[in-house]
Symmetry: C2
Subunit: 627 residues, 2 copies
């Protein structure tokens, strides 16, 4: 593997996944190649057939890990990732390269020589829409244009399942009576995803493609309920300030395990420089909550925030390449007292900041009064709105209350305004909600927000398990994902208690991949079940290595297995650790199947006929065939 | 703490939970005292009120840990737990003490001097129903008798919430607009649980009380969908044969974290002796799968199993005190070929054993043909049926298929036969089921099995995460628990991969307590939300210690917090690690509330009026009140 061994890249995880290789699928409309991961499988040994074997087709997996898992690529975090999209962007001829950074703060930081060793070495001048132009994917989609990003997404979402679907249905037919070619959920396309379908969903506002023109390194992905359910991982600089390379590794690590987007919630010093490093090295869209940085700029005094300061922060971040902004524009002055009677009041940090500002000035939220000004900035860089739920419930007792749903209605009004400007928009949701109140959240969101994609935090389904809130929330996340939520913001085991470490981030991401995939299965997304079937078949056939390699976390699966049965021998053994060598339910099942097949007893009718005559013959063989 | 420090008891975990004490609530109908755990809380410091404080009532928690967490009790595993129920049993005057163990195998083991040092020292002669008598709780319930067990359960299920409910509704009123006194789910009683309600549910077959007359050490509990959702933990002797004390500790450990019943799935040598030790020291009901031991007796050759051998095994275990038996009597000869086309065939071990036997002999399952003989044994000791789902699906692709539902219908027929004999019965369920197919399982079970309690394994909602199947299954378990499943069999992270260690058992139990409690909340069980509210209030008020002590796992919650903010100081600090000292959303919320209260702005209307005049005054104060 040609991996440059600089101190920087040495902290970056670049190990490829076992038995996996990167494949690049070419486009038809555009000159693009879509990265995917292909897992190769061992042959199936057919027992009682003199060791005859039949091959198992490799499994293609949707891959968020980016170039880091391609050993053939040299990566230097100081130079950043290859700019996959820059040609696509320039080819549209609607952007101009600025002579200098527009934001005052950005200029300030750039001219501060004390920051030189912190600064990313290769800062390129920012792009911006030419005067009068709108560079958002929504704008193109409405004009009927299928962009390279849209075709990339169509190919990526299909995971080459079109090559497997015959096989899949074949298997399903053979193996699952009523699921063979079962009809897909109301929320999902009946066939494979086409570039035109992607365009239609974006044009309708039902899906969002977060792709800032200043983040050309990102691999296009889509957030919409008629596509694979996505997950977001939050990262942030630790109290103990870690090196910038370590900050980059946090993002690389989260993407490796399946994060579709990263939110950088860093606070404190040097977040401008840290963000630059993260964006330049991130293969996934980056989201931020700009009010956090704005608050830093006024030393944490919310009442000192101003529109001008906030506006400069938006431009600063937009020109660095942030793909979506969480904006808490729905926290209206008149809603704030609705939270006073709550058990846990306002738990959203952004919501609290705006509430504090509103009460301090007795004015309406400036994010609301300046919303159209914000839209003008968003469409000049194609930054998407993630309209924040500043009044989301912080506990079971506060779920689905007046404050929460009042804000949701306002987010719906704001969505219409954003769409008027062709600015892509997603809606953030709760939080803490017991299972029986989850569906109402989805229904009200669809109703009030005109089907704009829903992006929820969990929700946590109980408050009694701090230390396990990745699990309390995965239950709610899987359900609301099934109901139609497009992206799930992960929760780590440290939620409510402390700052997540590397293990917590991995636990949170894997747990949310489980919730998202469970939702894809329930929605009947084309091909979602293919990976489950391939892994289950491997399990049934004791292809242990294939079972590990097809799993979300091959390292842990292998490690757990080896704790009980170490050694290579065990991995080809025809029994599992639960039953031991004398007896294994899976082996017996295989015997039952062989017997039924050999004796034409695959149907009950055949059984009744065939049974008697076979009985004696079988008894004579002393049923040795079973051992 | 007066804890005997013998080598045996030294391996047993006896540490009480932090800030918790055992309380014993007396009965009214019977001379009983019901064990519960009471967690004491700190006062609430009211800010901006010159340190005024208001007390928080202690929280009572349903306690499965048994006498082991009562430091005032001396426990010697060699002598076993106090026999809580023996007087209740004898007082009914329908049992006789046998002169000797009835089973041939039991006698054999007893007379084998080589086993002397393995044998439990204080084996008492078994009890059995007098000729013609039926000692099952179902039999008493049908006769209108409210047993001591039934009253114990009524008191236990209420968790003294009747003392808190005013407070609870008060809180709910104050804190959650539409949930104040919200109506309970269709599945749950509208008021507190009474002994008569318990009797009615048992008499109707909708609930089961697993209490073998030979397990007087157990604290009565109930399995039924109109009660708290229960969880089961499986334990078994490890390949590396651990000491018998270590086997006992496995059960104690699982009960400590919340297991409501334990299934002993031990295989190999000395399981008879191991089981005796576990039962004598178990405060919860013990379940087994007798066919496993029967298979051991024929050296793993399923085709050598006979009814006589199985019958002797049932009596052997019934006289030791096993409270429920999993019996795979629904695996009928004609259903076996229905599994041949499955992706993963038959994955139930018991199902495979019976399938192998049926095919080897071409006879109908002897558990089915001898079902009434089995009932005669069950009612003589009050052992409950757990009718096994030997044909449950082993993967997503096989969910809800013909083999599974055919067996379920047969389990329904068998339930009617069991009830004819007044034998208590629960029904086992899947397994692996995607979210959109879970509800159908519950509906078919209710329909075919006349509302007998459902007891499911998970179900796992995806197959792609070996190493995390406690989570893939907790999603399905929470949902099916909400839909009406009465008990959830836990899954550990080692599922499909290896044998669970102590950490895996704890992870599995805590994860399933989360699923069960989330279901109780969704069903609206009286008082289920009380613990959530108390913990959330503690969280909001930065009572860190109370938050830890009210959680399912106080040790882990405290440990995670201390990783980021060690030291006592941090635990009384008025900020959490996520926001830092300068800014905390929860602090601001409290400021908003104080402000709204002080200025009579609790209602939107009041806000509009009050806002203007307050504005200037507030601005003058430079909003120092907020800092």
């Amino acid at each position: 593997m040609k991996i440059e061994k600089t101190p920087e890249s040495s902290v970056i995880t670049r190990t490829p996944f076992p038995a996996s290789r990167k494949i690049y699928v070419p486009g038809k409309l555009h000159n693009i190649s879509v990265a995917m991961r292909e897992v190769s499988l061992h042959d199936t040994k057919i027992h009682g057939r003199n060791g005859a074997a039949e091959p198992n087709a490799p499994v293609t997996i949707y891959d968020t890990s980016g170039p880091f898992t391609d050993p053939d690529l040299e990566i230097d975090v100081k130079k950043g990732l290859p700019q996959l999209r820059s040609e696509w962007i320039r080819a549209r001829q609607d952007v101009e390269q600025l002579d200098m950074i527009s934001s005052q703060y950005g200029q300030q930081r750039l001219s501060d020589s004390k920051l030189d060793e912190l600064r990313f070495a290769h800062i390129s001048k920012p792009l911006r829409a030419k005067p009068g132009q709108n560079v958002s994917q929504l704008h193109y989609a409405k004009k009927g244009i299928i962009t390279a990003e849209m075709e990339y997404i169509a190919i990526r979402e299909n995971q080459r399942i079109e090559q497997h679907i015959g096989e899949l249905n074949g298997k399903a037919n053979a193996l699952s009576h009523q699921h063979a070619g079962h009809s897909f959920g109301a929320n999902t396309p009946k066939t494979f995803i086409t570039p035109e379908f992607v365009r239609q969903e974006v044009a309708a506002g039902r899906a969002v493609i977060p792709v800032n023109i200043n983040h050309p390194e990102s691999e296009p992905m889509i957030i919409g309920r008629n596509f694979l359910v996505k997950i977001n991982a939050n990262i942030g600089n630790s109290a103990v300030s870690s090196s910038i390379e370590e900050e980059v590794e946090k993002a690389v690590w989260a993407c490796r395990w399946g994060a579709d987007t990263i939110m950088d919630l860093s606070t404190g010093k040097n977040i401008h420089e840290t963000r630059e490093w993260i964006i330049r090295n991130s293969p996934v869209p980056i989201g931020t909550v700009p009010i956090y940085q704005a608050l830093e700029k006024v030393n944490g005094k919310a009442e000192d925030l101003t529109w001008e300061l906030f506006r400069d922060t938006l431009i600063e971040q937009a020109e660095q390449g942030v793909d979506y902004f969480t904006i808490h524009a729905g926290v209206l002055l008149r809603y704030i007292p609705l939270t006073a009677k709550r058990l846990t009041g306002i738990v959203s940090r952004g919501g609290s900041i705006m509430a504090k500002w509103c009460l301090a000035h007795h004015k309406e939220n400036f994010l609301y009064t300046h919303f159209e000004d914000i839209c003008e900035i968003m469409k000049a860089y194609d930054v998407a709105f993630s309209l924040g739920d500043g009044l989301r419930p912080g506990c079971i007792a506060d779920a689905n209350d007046a404050a929460q749903f009042s804000e949701l209605e306002t987010l719906g009004e704001l969505t219409k305004i954003a769409w008027k400007h062709d600015v892509q928009t997603i809606i953030e949701g709760p939080g803490h909600v017991p299972m029986h109140l989850i569906k109402e959240n989805m229904e009200k969101q669809l109703e009030h927000c005109q089907e704009a994609p829903f992006y929820t935090l969990g929700p946590l389904t109980t408050d009694i398990a701090p230390g396990y809130d990745h699990i309390t929330s995965a239950i709610g996340a899987a359900m609301i994902g099934w109901f139609g939520t497009a992206m799930l913001c992960y929760v780590t085991p440290k939620e409510h208690l402390g700052l997540p470490n590397k293990k917590d981030v991995k636990d949170g991401v894997i747990t949310y991949k489980i919730a998202a995939h469970a939702a894809d299965l329930a929605k009947g997304h084309p091909g979602a079940q293919y990976r489950d079937n391939a892994l289950s078949k491997a399990r049934f056939e004791f292809r242990w290595e294939d079972q590990f390699n097809l799993s979300l976390d091959p390292d842990t699966a292998r490690e757990f297995h080896d704790e009980t049965l170490p050694g290579e021998g065990a991995k080809i053994a025809h029994f599992c650790s639960m039953c031991g060598p004398n007896f294994c339910s899976m082996k017996i099942t295989q015997d039952v199947r062989d017997y039924a097949e050999e004796n034409g007893l695959m149907e009950e009718s055949a059984l009744v006929e065939g049974m008697q005559e076979k009985a004696r013959e079988f008894a004579d063989r002393g049923s040795e065939i079973y051992l």
